[in-house]
Symmetry: D3
Subunit: 134 residues, 6 copies
């Protein structure tokens, strides 16, 4: 961590990373949270996307694998669409996302995996993703 | 899924993958579970390591990222050492594992991350992993 | 615990406390649960609101802080509106509720906090609560 | 586990058990999952219903008691209707299901129990189940 | 619920049921909790064992199936030994307990099931339970 | 959030708040985490104790109520002693802590509450806290 980095710089870094992940539309969604509760919005962007997602060592794809797995495991299904879109935007293949869900079946239990698959299906439909299975 | 694959073949595939992940010592640990409750041991190996871990689309490194994240998120800390060893054995760098723990701080909460970091520290000590931080 | 207190008295105490928390409208909501499954309704009122919420040592405001935190942490978002209304009715300030959500971001993870904030926003809208942020 | 049993046979066993639990309509619901992600559908049927639900030692009623309890405890409420229908189809009495929910109130907390009771009420209405309480 | 039942009677009912489940030794373990925090001890006995475990509709065996499943699903492994002993005392067969653990593998995930199996193994050893697997 | 506040200032604020909560001994415990993984240690102090615990609107006592409730609800019992000591250091009465545990019994389930009470008992013993119950 850079000791002289300011909160404004953390926030700006977060916005940059967010843009890569979800584009201007996604950024404005997150900014709306900040209109209701500014310090929460600031924290989400400066800490979540500035401090964590912008770090090195892991790629954003790897971070999305972690986030999606954590969301499925804790049953936070309503937060999945945002991160499924982000994952696809940064280049994860749809097959990889399905594979995370199946792997989570064994490690977080099939009820969570079934709930997640339902959300994945809706996001894929929205993006016109059609998979041709062997 | 290959419709004509037998349970014996699923089990054998699981043992092969397990060997790559944790060597003969780890395999014998898992086999001990099977001595107490054979059908559980069989399922763990044939389903967990044969059906899931041996699948394509994601590498074993990616699968360990998913498993470790799920374990941290659900607080199953006592299952972490096995998978930390496996992750390191298949080539994950210690820095990547630390990074998963930090990212989970934001997404599963810091109590889970602190609990996990304590386990990671013990496993790194056991393996004489010394990190030199910039 | 008073050894000679009867179930009827525990229930009546629960109803009294419930009235303070959510008024007649809230009481009738809880009573509807009892129409479907009487022993569940009785337990919820006599145990939850009679035995627990009516105890001394902690104020109802403190108990709502505990309940709201527990609901966020376990992801029981659909139970939040009832307790957000109760918290506001017994005098918690909207700013305190927002602060609980932000604190939970660090301790239960941001996905749970984001999910909760969405519910808080709807309840504040319903009650025409407008916050002016510094 | 029969070492020579094939994946096809595990799947067929799963379909047979599923039919007993939820009839042709339920089977086709599960099969739809397989149309979106074939290997997930196969695993759910071959592993979940073939390997687990078809085992001896516990009856399907006992297994539904376990599944319903696990769903309530982990808050996977959206998966409850399928298993409530299955439980009633294999002969569990509505009173037993209510009793599971009340018992879970003490062991998984009342928020989860309240959330579950709401789902149970809807499923009972759908099936025209009317309980006359003493 | 009997409206005229007193707290003392609820407590006495709880003690009676507890005796059936865990004998005098188990009762004194629970009573020790009450020495540290009397109202908690009272509630655990009067509510947990008096109000819930003593109800009809489900047998104590069925209630132990529910409790054990809920403990495994929520990862409360340190509470398992008490209820495993209780389950065996009221006549559950060791094979049924193992079967609950395996079923939970699919529904709560294998990490929880592995953690639970470890506890079960220790309790079986303590009671000199030896299973001869076919 | 002050846009021009630097990471160093956030960290220093965190250290100040930590000192109030757990004294020099507690600060050095947290600093040890930073020796193993500096960025995690920094984040825990700058974000957890600097950004969250140092905020206004809620007192540190209220924040400990939230943290302790969240720890109990998510079953992170190994993190409890640190926060129980902090809560007592900032002036929470032992009776209030017991009361949180009992309230959590109803809202997070009795297994979590029993597990937590065991930890509380050990911390009270360590601090020679003796409660005389009416």
């Amino acid at each position: 961590m850079n000791p002289s980095q300011t909160n404004q710089e953390r926030y700006d870094t977060g916005i940059e990373t967010l843009k890569t992940m979800v584009g201007d539309h996604g950024v404005s969604m997150i900014k709306q949270i900040g209109e209701f509760f500014p310090d929460f919005g600031h924290t989400l962007i400066a800490f979540g996307f500035g401090d964590l997602y912008s770090r090195e060592t892991l790629s954003i794809q790897q971070r999305e694998t972690i986030t999606i797995t954590s969301l499925i495991t804790q049953g936070a299904m309503e937060q999945l669409p945002f991160h499924l879109h982000a994952a696809l935007n940064v280049g994860m293949r749809p097959e990889e996302i399905l594979e995370i869900v199946l792997h989570c079946g064994g490690y977080a239990g099939f009820p969570k995996a079934c709930g997640a698959l339902d959300v994945v299906r809706k996001v894929f439909q929205e993006r016109n993703i059609v998979l041709t299975h062997k």
